[in-house]
């Protein structure tokens, strides 16, 4: 065995550069150990340990933000750029918040605890790697780690028929999308390693080499099909039209914290991958990618908003509103194909979406009863009177999702719209504006359900599930989310600066 080759490979591995991922994975393992060593006290200790660990991790990452940008490493498997660094924060933040939601949600049920936190942390670490990957092999391995983890999480509430249905649907749809993606990757691999074509490469899974090949063959038939399939596979994850059919059922059936993970982190991961591909790898195929994604974005915005109009179940509503957000994100991705600034705008949008969504999901976790899938708009009646704190958080979260200034969601939409305008997608913008106006209707309907009706005595107060009062951890978390949504609308500060630098 040739030691020097291994040494060369090892020299390219900058393990230090992925310390946040490693720490997260170690934390996930530590949770299992804690549960093994202290089986009795573990139940209470594990969630707190997971939350505390991630808070510390976020703190260290924030202090050492510059070490997160390290260029290409691991022999071209990973590239640690600025956007990827921001996305790493995004995923750790998501998993932290999912753990907090899990703490609220699992306290009500008899489901096993430790596995939930363990899988969430592993999934988050895998998503971080996914956002950094610049090699299709890495991409696929990370993606499968995420997906397999999510299969388990979606069907976590084994006792509910709706959850099992959701799990099955997600399994089938996830399998299908992975297959599509893989098929696309293989086609690209095959096309790019054809020695008869210019710039053929042996390492055709690598983004840079593949990009060189695509630039040399701007109209290769195989590559065209491959790119289309790759986009389709990722569109499943993002929840873009026409691959959004699984969303309402799965979002409704999955336990609320997992719905949040799907809605925010999984969507974010898909968008991050798409950004990387569209900006760097598929750039020579902009003639193909831009029209596909444009049509997809328009259809997604229209479908998501119109479908959300008629929903009464809040989990389905937030799922379909998430579809429309996927459309706005795609709008930014389309712009990013030509305009580097748009990538920062999309990432900023994702952060605002995270803050607002988790605020709403946090309220939902408190509102849900034992039947988690059964969360109706009517259950919100009288919330403003009974629990003004939760009602306020809900209003801020929904307002930000609707994109109302001075909340952060407006800034996100604004930046994406500016980017789209700069790249000349006027038709898409018109659709997006229409979508925003429609979305106001259902977001306000929700706020109305929580606020306006409460001035009348509600007739069926007994019919709705018992609400959980937020404890101090939830109060701090939700308060921080709402405050961040507010502050980020006024003052974009370091995040804006970080993302607007090239």
């Amino acid at each position: 065995m040739d030691i020097s080759a291994l040494q060369h490979a090892a020299a390219g591995n900058a393990w230090g550069a992925i310390w946040p991922e490693i720490s997260l994975a170690c934390l996930a393992l530590a949770l299992l150990v804690v549960d093994l060593v202290l089986p009795r006290r573990g139940a209470g200790l594990v969630p707190n340990l997971a939350i505390l660990g991630q808070v510390v991790l976020l703190g260290i990452m924030a202090c050492r933000a510059n070490t997160l940008v390290a260029g290409e490493t691991f022999n071209g498997l990973l590239r640690l750029g600025r956007i990827a660094a921001a996305m790493r924060f995004f995923f750790v933040l998501s998993s932290l918040l999912v753990c907090i939601l899990g703490r609220i949600h699992l306290a009500r049920s008899t489901m096993p605890r430790v596995e939930f936190y363990h899988i969430v942390l592993v999934v988050a670490a895998a998503m971080m790697l996914l956002a950094e990957s610049c090699h299709f092999l890495m991409l696929f391995v990370a993606l499968e780690t995420v997906t397999v983890g999510l299969y388990v999480l979606v069907s976590y509430g084994r006792t509910s028929a709706l959850t099992l249905e959701a799990g099955l649907k997600y399994l089938i749809m996830g399998g299908l999308s992975s297959a599509l993606l893989l098929f696309g990757i293989v086609l690209l691999y095959g096309a790019a390693s054809n020695p008869l074509l210019p710039a053929a490469t042996a390492a055709s899974m690598h983004y840079a080499d593949l990009a060189r090949f695509l630039a040399a063959n701007p109209h290769n038939f195989l590559a065209t099909i491959g790119i289309t399939f790759v986009l389709a596979g990722i569109a499943f994850k993002v929840g873009a039209f026409p691959f959004q059919i699984w969303i309402p059922d799965v979002y409704q059936g999955a336990p609320t914290p997992v719905t949040a993970l799907l809605a925010v982190a999984s969507k974010g991961a898909g968008v991050a991958v798409l950004l990387g591909l569209v900006r760097f790898v598929f750039a020579p195929y902009a003639w193909l990618v831009v029209p596909i994604l444009s049509v997809m974005a328009a259809a997604t915005i229209i479908f998501g908003n119109l479908a959300a109009l008629t929903q009464h179940n809040v989990k389905r509503l937030i799922g379909l509103s998430g579809v429309s957000h996927a459309g706005f994100l795609l709008l930014g991705v389309v712009a990013a194909a030509r305009l580097p600034m748009a990538a920062g705008a999309v990432t900023f949008y994702l952060f605002t979406y995270l803050l607002a969504s988790f605020a709403v999901f946090g309220v939902m976790a408190h509102m849900a009863g034992p039947a988690d899938a059964d969360q109706e708009l009517e259950h919100y009646a009288g919330l403003a009177k009974e629990d003004p704190f939760l009602a306020l958080i809900l209003a801020v979260g929904l307002g930000s999702l609707a994109g109302i200034p001075p909340l952060a969601g407006f800034m996100g939409k604004f930046l994406v719209f500016v980017a789209a305008f700069r790249t000349g997608h006027y038709g898409l913008l018109a659709v997006a504006i229409g979508g925003v106006v429609v979305s106001i209707y259902y977001y306000f309907g929700w706020i109305k359900a929580a606020f306006f009706e409460s001035w009348r005595p509600s007739a069926d107060a007994t019919a709705r599930p018992v609400r959980t009062a937020p404890d101090w951890v939830a109060k701090v978390a939700l308060g921080a989310l709402a405050l961040a949504s507010l502050v980020l609308g006024f003052y974009q500060g370091p995040l804006g600066g970080w993302l607007s630098r090239p």
């Binding site: 600034m341 306020l392 307002g399 109302i404 200034p405 001075p406 407006f410 604004f414 930046l415 719209f417 500016v418 305008f421 700069r422 913008l429 018109a430 504006i433 925003v436 106006v437 106001i440 209707y441 306000f444 109305k448 606020f451 306006f452 001035w455 006024f490 003052y491 974009q492 500060g493 370091p494 995040l495 804006g496 600066g497 607007s500 630098r501």
Partner: protein
């Protein structure tokens, strides 16, 4: 002059800070006390700005110019505050009407007073900010900040049909705001200057003006978007509905100040940045304004049998004068529009307040069920008469000068429009005086006699008088000395871009 702080920033931040304090759970007693500060400080600072504006050093026409970074300097977004000759009168208007509406709200005894004041304070902060922003982004931002509370206030404290009205107003105005946002982004991108700053935009577009076609498209977009916000006919249907349902202080602030933001945007952005585009639309705009807003809506107003609806429609009608003044594109016309905006803002706020005072005494807005109120409440009647005179533009009040300037400018623009517009004066005199007669004079109706027998109407209390006095005094002050508030018109547009089209119009 030598305040140790930036008056514009504090005028914007003070109400917001008070609102935040109330949101954090301040007890009711302290909330009310602090609310006086939240409304009073902007009022005092607005007077300060008014007083010192002429002598203040100016950069590109803007006094009190300061820039605060918000982290997006790379995109040309920053909180830049300053007022020029167009912004200052409206900034003052916002401060005064806000103070009056705030005083009235504090003493209104509304249900859930704390939240009511909180929303009104947020609105006030947005209004102080919107006229002080020298950055397109924050201009839009503050406008929305002020707009959102109206939706909520209509939904919670509204009168009849509040749910329907809240939803309609929300969707209509969001659509208008979104379309104008699109237009503003378009200007930003097309200017190529990479800045949202008013001043840099002007400089960039003065150096390389856009082609006439692009200008026309963008001006059309802005006219549509802002037109919806200012209730340009036929996009006005939200206004009477919303004002009819809105609680009085919200209606005062919205009709008095917030609605002027659209006109302000057209004057401050569309005219100097897209002069050729606006000139291209001027005839269409003038036709819509005169035929639609002034004549059609004027006749509809005459047919109203509900006092609050009538005030709502009349405010739509008066916007027609503003639009036609804008359409002339001449400096005189713009000056008239600014004066009319101030005068109308003060008088319509006064009308909404007094209409609510009448409602408290008659328990109804229906004109047919009132009558003879003057004998029981002479002070209210006196205020109402003065407000009516101000509203229909009698000399001695601010509106007169605004309308006079606009009519003169319209005469230069097209005499036939001037004839039609002046006919509107007759219409507004008819409906306003008839309403006055119905409410206060003549024999009381049977319905009102019943109400009066149960609860004898008391005259205006001091808590109702003060807001009215503040508004009326300002109206009369500007009425006798209009130059105190509208001046430096050349500087208002900035020396770099005294839009050639405007000056050309003026010389004609």
């Amino acid at each position: 002059m030598d305040l140790p702080f930036d008056p514009l920033l504090v005028a914007m931040a003070a109400p917001l800070g008070v609102a935040l304090a109330i949101a954090c759970g301040l007890p009711k007693r302290w909330s009310v006390r602090l609310a006086y500060v939240g409304f009073g400080l902007p009022f005092l600072l607005a007077l300060h700005v008014w007083w010192h504006f002429a002598a203040a050093p100016k950069v590109a026409g803007y006094a009190f110019l300061t820039n605060y970074s918000t982290g997006l300097d790379a995109l040309g977004i920053g909180l830049k505050l300053g007022v020029n000759g167009v912004g200052m009168p409206l900034f003052v208007l916002a401060g005064i009407v806000g103070f009056a509406a705030g005083l009235y709200a504090i003493k209104s005894g509304a249900e859930r007073l704390k939240i009511y004041l909180l929303l009104l304070l947020v609105m006030q902060a947005g209004l102080m900010g919107v006229f002080a922003s020298v950055n397109v982004f924050f201009f839009y931002f503050f406008h929305e900040l002020a707009l959102i509370p109206t939706f909520i206030m209509i939904g919670i404290w509204g009168g009849r049909d509040r749910n329907y009205a809240a939803m309609t107003v929300t969707i209509y105005l969001t659509l208008g705001a979104m379309i104008s946002l699109l237009g503003l982004i378009a200007i930003y991108v097309k200017s190529g200057g990479g800045s949202f700053d008013f001043i840099s935009l002007r400089e960039a577009l003065a150096a390389n003006p856009l082609s006439v076609t692009v200008q026309k498209h963008l001006a059309g977009l802005l006219l549509l978007g802002f037109g919806i916000l200012v209730s340009l006919w036929p996009f006005h249907t939200w206004a009477p509905l919303g004002y009819g349902a809105a609680p009085s202080s919200a209606a005062m602030l919205h009709a008095g100040v917030l609605k002027k933001v659209g006109l302000y945007g057209l004057i401050q952005l569309a005219l100097p940045l897209l002069p050729a585009g606006m000139a291209g639309w001027s005839h269409a705009l003038a036709t819509l304004a005169v035929v639609g807003n002034v004549l059609v809506i004027g006749l509809i107003t005459m047919a109203q049998r509900d006092l609050k609806q009538m005030v709502g429609y009349s405010s739509v009608m008066h916007m027609g004068y503003a639009f036609v003044g804008l359409a002339t594109g001449s400096v005189l016309g713009i000056e008239g529009v600014v004066l009319l905006m101030v005068g109308h803002g003060l008088s319509v706020a006064l009308m909404f307040q007094l209409a609510t005072c009448v409602h408290h005494r008659t328990q109804t807005f229906a004109l047919d069920e009132m009558g003879g109120l003057a004998q029981k409440t002479p002070v209210l009647a006196a205020f109402f008469v003065a407000a009516t005179f101000a509203g229909i533009g009698l000399p001695g009040f601010a509106n007169f000068w605004g309308e006079l300037a606009i009519f003169t400018a319209v005469w230069h623009f097209s005499p036939s429009f001037a004839f039609l517009a002046v006919a509107g004066i007759v219409i507004s005199a008819v409906y306003a005086l008839r309403a006055l007669a119905r409410v206060f004079f003549g024999p009381p109706s049977a319905a009102f006699q019943e109400v009066a027998a149960k609860t004898p109407p008391a005259d205006l209390s001091w808590s109702e008088r003060w807001p009215a006095i503040i508004l009326l005094v300002t109206l009369a002050f500007i009425g006798v000395w209009p130059r105190s508030i509208v001046r430096d018109r050349a500087e208002a547009f900035g020396p770099s871009a005294p839009p050639a089209a405007i000056l050309a119009f003026d010389r004609r």
